[in-house]
Symmetry: C2
Subunit: 223 residues, 2 copies
DNA sequence: GTGTTGCCCTAACGTTGTTTGGTATACTCG
DNA sequence: CGAGTATACCAAACAACGTTAGGGCAACAC
């Protein structure tokens, strides 16, 4: 039914009641930057625990311990646990954006898409908790903030452009690509964590995809 | 590194210390069947809540309420919450097995694989919580019991046979198929829940897959 | 009819996310 | 420099969570 809520769909802009920094407008710059630094320490600690015990396998008290605080003090920096997840969500997509930007987009389609696939899969497989947070709807009741979600859309936009450069255009083709890539990553992480049983199918998957979505190229290369 | 822990990989047979029914060997048959019936009621209530609020978005007290008990009484039927998840896991795969068995496997490969894909995607999309429980590693610390896991292997086995009947053989091809299907399902559920933006790509995906994994057929059909 | 077992309860434990209310420290401004 | 205000932290406590302990009542076995 419903079908499609905006291009990236899914989470969409939610009930946005702005305040994501609990303490808004710290007056001095020194204060502000120290605040920001502590915030980042908290996020880093949360990531470390999430990698160890799973996305939902850590507690506020553990994070607090890791940064040398008591749990209630975390509320100086985040208004609730979900706000930490939101910051992690944003940071995760920022990292993916970096990885994407570092991927050369020149050359023939096959080579470009192979690079894109390798980059994406390496990113996913490097951190199961991050993969779940960014691509799966795992946290009950969690919705990324509009600011964080914008980063996700930026990533998709960047990907769309790369695919277009390689001759792949149209929503259906892009959707098929994302399904293929997240599917490989999900299977790898769920059924062979630490291994490469699915990631090593990347090239095969890319060729399959290209042969079908860019048939001229395929026909030409065949003779 | 590690690469592959048995064919289905991933969860594998874990530290199996048998007891999954808390009260083993109820003496009378009447008693036993009533016990089993209550167990099923609990599982059904858990499913209903999981569908409403997410796989991890329900509590034992809510389940107990739904079946007219107090939370501690659930421990008569399950030794901990994870045991309920385990029973849900088993039931989920049993349902998938049913769905698979109801899918005709005769006809030309394209038609068969289309049917298989449609069946699988419909199954996944019908219940996000079930999809996450069966195919994603979402619950921190949860490992299905050997009994339950055997059902998952049975499903994969059945799928392998169906693909083989259609001319698709070899672990890599099967792995690529599962990645493609779970990828479509995951994207559908995560980015367009309730819609059909990805599921309607099923036929396109199947054709792409067949053209690459069964090239003779494709070449022949092309002229 | 007596003894055992299964089923369900209340009470309570430790832990979780979160709120309250307080206190020092760090900063701003007169 | 000194008064006043944010900021950053804390201990104590809240309700809700999964889970354990201990007891009572009914259904069964012999």
């Amino acid at each position: 039914m419903a079908g499609g809520r905006g291009l990236t769909g899914g989470w969409g802009p939610a009930s946005s009641a702005l305040p994501y920094f609990v303490s808004l407008s710290p007056v001095s710059d020194r204060r502000a930057s120290r605040h920001q630094a502590t915030r980042q320490q908290i996020i880093d600690a949360a990531w470390a625990l999430a990698r160890e015990r799973g996305l939902t396998g850590w507690t506020l008290r553990e994070v607090a311990d890791a940064v040398g605080m008591r749990a209630p003090s975390l509320y100086v920096y985040f208004e609730h646990k979900d706000a930490i997840y939101d910051a992690m969500f944003a940071q995760g997509y920022a990292q993916l954006l970096e990885a994407i930007d570092a991927t050369p987009t020149t050359g023939e389609p096959l080579r470009v898409l192979r690079r894109v696939a390798r980059t994406f899969l390496a990113f996913c497989v490097a951190d199961q908790a991050r993969f779940q947070l960014l691509f799966l709807r795992v946290l009950p009741g969690f919705t990324p903030s509009p600011e964080s979600y914008a980063l996700a859309e930026e990533v998709l936009d960047r990907l769309r452009r790369m695919l277009a450069d390689a001759g792949i255009r149209g929503r259906r083709s892009v959707d098929l690509w994302t399904a293929l890539m997240t599917g490989l990553a999900a299977q790898q992480l769920s059924n062979d964590p630490g291994g490469d049983r699915w990631t090593r199918l990347a090239n095969r998957a890319v060729e399959m995809f290209l042969a079908s979505e860019l048939p001229e190229r395929d026909a030409a290369s065949r003779g």
